[in-house]
Structure formats: structure tokens, C-alpha cells
């Protein structure tokens, strides 16, 4: 696993948030720190995923032909849903 150097300020913030969490929840400081780190890594992962989608989505939005074809498909699929609903 690649080790990443955590900037000093981030280290301080983790300690501060963990101390607060420990105080509020009654958990030990190391446990609170583990929770803060886990959430931090989850947030980073989530951010990367969103970024990957947003880049992919921007690419398709820039492709006017793909968007036009997709609009036709979406209209057909939405019409199918409406017709299905009306038939009930």
C-alpha cells in the first residue's frame, strides 16, 4: 500500500475532531481517531468516484450527437412508462 504523508495541519485537525468526538461519545481517543480517519478515507473515496462520474458525464454532454440520440431514447422510454401507467 502506498504511504501518503499527511500534512501537519490535517494531523492536528484529526486530533481535534477525535478529541471532540471522544468527549461527546465517551469513546477512547484512539477509537475516536480511528473513526475520524475511516470517515476521512471514505469521503475521499466518494469524492474520487463522483469526480470520475462528473468527468465522464461532461464528456457525453459535450458530444451533441450522443446527447441527441439519448434524448430520443429517453423520450421513447418515458413514453413507454406513461403508456404502461395509463393502461393500469
Amino acid at each position: 500500500m502506498t504511504s501518503i504523508k499527511v500534512p501537519e495541519r490535517v494531523r492536528e485537525l484529526i486530533h481535534e475532531v477525535a478529541a471532540q468526538l471522544s468527549k461527546e461519545s465517551g469513546r477512547s481517543v484512539p477509537m475516536a481517531e480511528a473513526i475520524v480517519r475511516m470517515h476521512g478515507s471514505f469521503a475521499t473515496e466518494r469524492h474520487r468516484n463522483r469526480l470520475a462520474w462528473e468527468e465522464a458525464a461532461q464528456e457525453v454532454k459535450d458530444d451533441t450527437d450522443a446527447m441527441a440520440r439519448a434524448q430520443v431514447t429517453a423520450d421513447r422510454l418515458n413514453a413507454l412508462l406513461q403508456a404502461r401507467q395509463a393502461g393500469r
Binding site: R48, W53, A57, R69, A74, L81
Partner: protein, 140 residues
């Protein structure tokens, strides 16, 4: 007002990951037009298994970023029971990606959106119910 939408199957999720422009554009337009879509978690897991880490990021990012897309979990006894009802009628080993899509489709009363009806033929042959499928590509 009744909410209308589609359940996405594994073939659609795989194409989103692999970069099919038309499918990705459709997801963007569905979001703009507020067409709801549901992604069954087990179907997602099976789809992701055939994708690279970067492709998985795109699929996960789409589910997270688009307001009209909802992940359907198996986190309650009722949800497990609905899935079990479908799995029990499949010939082992059960097609879990299909089973969860069917369970969610039956519960929400939404059709399943797929890239290929052929993918569903063996599943349909095993089950006593009609599976409501809609192919993305116009059959005409």
C-alpha cells in the same frame, strides 16, 4: 402521484462503466427529466465484478451524484424475503444479479431496463412470472 421508473440491470451498469456514450448520456437525460432509476445492490456487485477499478468509480460516482438514481439494498428482513422468493424459484446456482433486479422490479412495480433481452432468456425460462423487460435500444 405515482412515481415511475426503471430498475437497471447488470448489462446497463456494465455499459455505464465501460463508457458507452449513449448509455451514459441516457443516464444524464434521465436525471434531467427526473426519470427515476433503481440500482439493486447485488446486481451492482455482479456488474462491478467485470469492471476495472476506474470503471467502477464511474458507476459508483453516478449512483452517488445523480439524484434520480437510488441504490436498492438488502438490509431488512422484508427485502431479504423478497429476494429469497425469487432465488427459491431459480435453478441453482441462482443468477443473483437477475434475482435482485426482479425482486426490486416486483416491489417497485417498475420494468427492468436492459441492454439485451437475450441476457434474460434463461432466467425467464426458469420463473413462473413474466419479467417486464425494456430494451434500451429501439427494437425497430
Amino acid at each position: 402521484m405515482t412515481i415511475l421508473g426503471y430498475v437497471l440491470d447488470d448489462t446497463v451498469l456494465v455499459e455505464v462503466g465501460r463508457g458507452d456514450f449513449d448509455v451514459r448520456a441516457l443516464m444524464v437525460i434521465f436525471n434531467q427529466s427526473d426519470t427515476r432509476t433503481s440500482v439493486p445492490a447485488i446486481t451492482l456487485a455482479v456488474a462491478e465484478a467485470s469492471l476495472s477499478p476506474d470503471q467502477r468509480r464511474v458507476v459508483r460516482g453516478m449512483i452517488d451524484a445523480l439524484d434520480n438514481v437510488e441504490l436498492a439494498l438488502v438490509s431488512t428482513q422484508d427485502e431479504a424475503a423478497r429476494l429469497s422468493e425469487v432465488v427459491a424459484r431459480m435453478i441453482p446456482p441462482a443468477d443473483m444479479a437477475a434475482a435482485h433486479a426482479i425482486a426490486v422490479s416486483q416491489y417497485l412495480d417498475w420494468p427492468i431496463l436492459t441492454m439485451s433481452r437475450k441476457r434474460w432468456a434463461p432466467v425467464a425460462a426458469e420463473l413462473p412470472w413474466r419479467i417486464e423487460l425494456v430494451e434500451i435500444r429501439d427494437p425497430e
